[in-house]
């Protein structure tokens, strides 16, 4: 393992039982929410995971946190496979891998004060000798996320804060344990554009100053473009393309990535383009197509795509990978 890889995910799968028959209780099919994800999270990098809703982004994060038990696969953190660890040993890992949730209105308990919310992880892990020490650490965490003076926030309750402040509190909760990895599930999608930048810059500074690796889940490619070092594109439970952000945006290989880039609205009326609308409806993870999972909507599908499930292979630059049969053949001109 190269030393800079913090979290190594290999062929991770999470399948849920789907419909049960009303009579026999028998199970029909599976929801393949995460279906063979392989991804490396590097030291102090900001990796954006982009995809449509239902593609399994959030399930992947919950699986990495050990909140959902994976069906198969490995997650290696510090030379140790953390899949299937006992709850006690997983709890030790959780100190090192923390998560920020999407909805700052829902992810903070409305009946607790900000101070108690931020200090709770310390109490859970017995990391501070007493209440005062916990309060002091909570204060420091609040200041780290830019809520100053921290004393003014300790005794407030979540409903007294703005959306941006709440999300900062949520980041403080994740930071107070001093994690190495931060999993952020759409941390800005519920916030106003005017405060998004603040949270994004905060995440960016955390990995710079503390060497925290951030896995940032988003559906918004333009946000990813601004802050991520690398972008991974997920489609129907699998990573279909991953690479350094400028490279993926400039020379996308997978037709899905290309379509995704073409539909992102650009805030400049002089750059109106014709978006490449994909035919068909977003796919259903119960019913994953045979062969390449993207072929039914793919504008450039080959006959082979219906039969062969393409692996993630090196294309173009140093670390640019894509799962497309077209990419293996000499790169033709895409329509």
């Amino acid at each position: 393992m190269s030393p800079s890889v913090v979290l190594r995910i290999r062929d991770l799968r999470k399948h849920y039982p789907a419909r049960r028959s009303l009579w026999s209780g028998q199970q029909h099919g599976q929801v393949r929410a995460v279906d063979g994800v392989s991804l490396d999270l590097l030291y102090a990098e900001l990796l954006a995971l982009v995809g449509e809703s239902g593609c399994g982004k959030s399930t992947l994060l919950l699986t990495l946190m050990g909140l959902e038990r994976p069906t198969a696969g490995r997650v290696v953190f510090e030379e140790q496979d953390i899949v299937g660890l006992s709850e006690t040993r997983m709890n030790a890992i959780r100190r090192r891998i923390q998560m920020v949730f999407q909805d700052p209105y829902e992810s903070l308990n409305p009946t607790m004060t900000v101070g108690d919310i931020v200090a709770e992880p310390l109490a859970v892990h017995g990391l501070a000798p007493d209440k005062r020490a916990r309060g002091a650490q909570a204060c420091r965490a609040l200041e780290d996320v830019g809520l100053m003076p921290a004393g003014a926030f300790l005794h407030r309750r979540p409903h007294e804060l703005s959306g941006g402040q709440r999300q900062r509190v949520a980041v403080a909760v994740a930071l107070v344990l001093g994690p190495d990895v931060l999993l952020a599930d759409e941390p800005v999608s519920m916030l106003d554009v005017s405060v998004r930048a603040g949270i994004l810059n905060l995440l960016d500074s955390l990995r710079r100053t503390r060497g925290i690796s951030v896995l940032f889940v988003t559906h918004d490619l333009s946000t990813a473009a601004h802050i991520a070092d690398r972008v991974a594109v997920m489609y129907l439970g699998r990573i279909v393309e991953v690479g350094f952000t400028p490279e993926v945006l400039r020379a996308p290989v997978h037709p899905y990535t290309r379509a995704l880039i073409s539909v992102v609205p650009v805030p400049n009326p002089r750059q109106r383009r014709q978006p490449a609308l994909l035919p068909g409806e977003p796919p259903d993870p119960i019913d994953v197509p045979v062969g390449c999972r993207f072929h039914p909507r793919c504008p450039v599908a080959l006959d082979r795509c219906r039969r062969v499930d393409p692996p993630l292979v090196k294309v173009g630059g140093r670390h640019h990978l894509a799962a497309c049969l077209r990419a293996e053949a000499p790169l033709g001109k895409y329509p």
Binding site: T111, E120, R196
Partner: protein, 666 residues
């Protein structure tokens, strides 16, 4: 006072803004029903507690009973008369309250304890434990509780403790079901998941995260269970199943009935105990329901109500500044469909000064034009849109200005006329297409209904429905499908088809793509774009997404703090923004085509309508604000074409540095 944004949020979408904060105290303060119930209950408790001192006679004292004392009518000596044994009815009534309330209190405590424990375990742990416990609860629930209680009391010795225990253990099922469902719903909230992500134990999650949110509901439930327990106790003692050594209301009724009070015409032996029961049960019920109205959002009504019709007199024209735009570019030829001049919206609530949610908004919407209304949340975008449709929550209305739809002033229009116009001329598409479609009827049916509602004699409905669905890109095969068979994007397109059912001239779309993915968003925007080109539909698009605006709108209205900060053609707004707020918004917005540019947040948050700054509303957050900006409200300056800016700096022509130069990011 909550911010207006919160008020409308709660009204329109039942947002959980501050409902969770100390609910019981708020409930009591704002709810007369609960207060009245609490007063009834408190007086009964006081009477029971002070019985020794306030009762005129000693209940145990053996009186010299004479014939005149039996069923003596109310008199100065006996205010409520006497009963069959010559005892004072008032004294019995007061002492009877002790039994009722004691039984009610302890029995409900037992019920709620059992029910709460079962409900919590079932809701929190789920799985097999839940199945076993809830089936057991269901079985107990179908056994009628009163006959069961009668049998149980009759089998044991009728005494106070027995009655309490029996009533307690037959009355827990409702609590168990309630607590289970509440536990289940709290358990699914994200903060519980977050606590688990931190590594918190089950016990901790229960005690710190779930109980505090289940407790208010249990409190309400306890009050209601108590009233049932009191009724059950009265019934049991009326049937003679009570401790004979203690006077209770049921017992008083029992002896009055069996010992000829009816034939003696002694109503005073019957009415007071009955009234006592009603008093206490009513107190419990009112308190319980009053609390529930506040604590359980589904009970209180949150639905849209149309605003009060404004009398033409109150609709003064012009509060602000004249609107003299010479409409700019390509749309100057097209007819004006919607002409809004100086519209202001106030929210009034009793006891509060009116909130100026929207002030002096003017714009013109031409046939086939798409106008984007942008701004942060809480800036009045949605309020403006709803006010034009006269669909504001109660208390909100247009207080001045004119809204002309093809020449007719909507502000002065009667409610009935307005209701007729609403779907025919002005249609709406909301953000949540999921909840706006009826799940048990086919989409085609629902569109047909929309047509028939306004054109009862319409012909060839089926063909028209197919045509409408085709317009939004939904194939004819899907007409007879149900909403759940549609994807999110298709549902939103079906909503657009429904909005077009009566061939409106203006379409209002409130964040129509916010909950959808970019791929689906692109489809919806494509549909909207085609519609206004093909049908000449005028579209007012409320959104927070500047990218969407740049992509398809013709003109943009930037709202801040309830006023128009800037109104311009889309090219001018994005390339020559004149208001610092517009400029800052653009700097905060990520742009895929310029990934290197730094994103800059706007510090602070928009002002709330009850605390507007004295000067320019953006001054507290504005990087260019001068002392004048803080003191004096800027007027609306009209620049070239229909470019309007509400900013002092435009006058000096120096403030917004990039004026007249193509806008560039730092």
């Amino acid at each position: 006072m909550p911010r207006l944004n919160d008020v409308t949020d709660t009204f329109l979408w039942g947002g959980a803004t501050d409902r969770d904060a100390d609910p019981i105290r708020r409930a009591l303060r704002h709810n007369r029903m609960a207060l009245f119930g609490a007063a009834l209950l408190t007086s009964a408790v006081a009477a029971a507690a002070l019985a020794q001192w306030i009762a005129p006679y000693d209940p145990g004292a053996t009186l010299q009973v004479t014939v005149e004392d039996v069923y003596a009518p109310p008199s100065a000596a006996h205010w409520l008369g006497t009963d069959d044994a010559g005892r004072d009815v008032l004294t019995n009534l007061i002492y009877g309250a002790r039994v009722s309330l004691t039984v009610g209190f302890f029995a409900s405590f037992i019920s709620v304890f059992i029910g709460g424990a079962i409900g919590t375990v079932a809701g929190f742990f789920g799985g097999r434990a839940e199945r076993v416990l809830m089936r057991f609860t269901d079985v107990v629930l179908v056994i009628p509780d009163l006959p069961l209680a009668i049998v149980l009391v009759a089998l044991t010795r009728p005494g106070l403790i027995n009655v309490i225990v029996v009533i307690g253990i037959v009355g827990w099922t409702g609590t168990a079901r309630l607590v289970r469902s509440q536990t289940l719903s709290v358990k699914q909230r994200k903060f519980v998941l977050r606590a688990r992500a931190v590594g918190a134990s089950n016990l901790r999650i229960l005690v710190r995260h779930i109980f505090p949110l289940v407790l208010p509901l249990i409190a309400v439930n306890t009050v209601l269970v108590m009233s049932l327990a009191i009724l059950n106790e009265s019934t049991l003692s009326f049937l003679g199943l009570s401790d004979p050594s203690r006077t209770s209301w049921g017992q008083m009724l029992n002896s009055a009935f069996t010992r000829g009070a009816m034939s003696a015409g002694a109503w005073w032996a019957l009415v007071p105990p009955g009234a006592g029961i009603v008093w206490v049960v009513l107190g419990c019920s009112l308190l319980g329901y009053g609390l529930e109205r506040v604590l359980n959002p589904r009970v209180a009504s949150h639905h849209l109500s149309s605003a009060h019709p404004t009398s033409p007199k109150s609709a003064k024209t012009k509060r602000g500044h004249p609107h003299q735009t010479s409409p700019g570019t390509e749309f100057s030829e097209a007819p004006v469909v919607l002409d809004v001049r100086g519209a202001s919206v106030d929210f009034t609530a009793s006891g509060c000064p009116p909130l100026h949610a929207v002030e002096d908004v003017s714009f013109r919407l031409h046939c086939g034009e798409m106008l984007g209304v942008v701004g942060e949340s809480g800036c009045g975008k949605t309020t403006l849109m709803l006010s034009l449709l006269r669909l504001l929550p109660t208390g909100g209305r247009i207080v001045s200005g004119e809204v002309r739809l093809s020449g007719r002033n909507l502000v002065a229009m009667g409610e009935k006329e307005m209701a007729d116009l609403r779907w025919k001329e002005m249609a709406v598409v909301f953000q949540s297409a999921m909840s706006a479609l009826n799940p048990i009827r086919t989409v085609g049916d629902q569109i047909a209904e929309a047509i028939l509602r306004h054109e009862p004699r319409a012909k060839k409905i089926d063909g028209r429905v197919r045509e409408l669905l085709d317009m939004v890109g939904i194939g004819p095969g899907r007409q007879h499908q149900y909403p759940h068979q549609y994807s999110g994007g298709m549902r939103q397109r079906a909503m657009i088809a429904m909005a077009l059912a009566c061939r409106p001239t203006v379409l209002f779309a409130d964040e129509p793509t916010t909950a959808l993915d970019v791929m689906v968003q692109a489809q919806i925007l494509d549909v909207l774009d085609r519609l206004r080109r093909d049908l000449g539909l005028a579209v007012l698009l409320v959104t927070h997404d500047l990218g969407v605006v740049a992509e398809i709108c013709d003109s943009v209205l930037v709202m801040y703090g309830g006023v128009v900060a800037e109104y311009a053609d889309v090219d001018a707004l994005f390339n020559r923004p004149r208001h610092p707020y517009t400029r800052e918004l653009l700097r905060a917005f990520p742009d895929l085509s310029r990934p290197k540019a730094e994103l800059v947040a706007i510090p602070g948050s928009p002002p709330s309508p009850n605390a507007l700054p004295p000067g320019c509303r953006f001054a507290p957050r504005c990087p260019d604000a001068s002392s004048r900006c803080h003191a004096e409200q800027p007027t609306l300056h009209i620049l070239d074409g229909r470019h309007q800016v509400r900013c002092h700096l435009v006058e000096s022509n120096s403030g917004v540095g990039s004026a007249h130069e193509p806008f560039r990011r730092t």
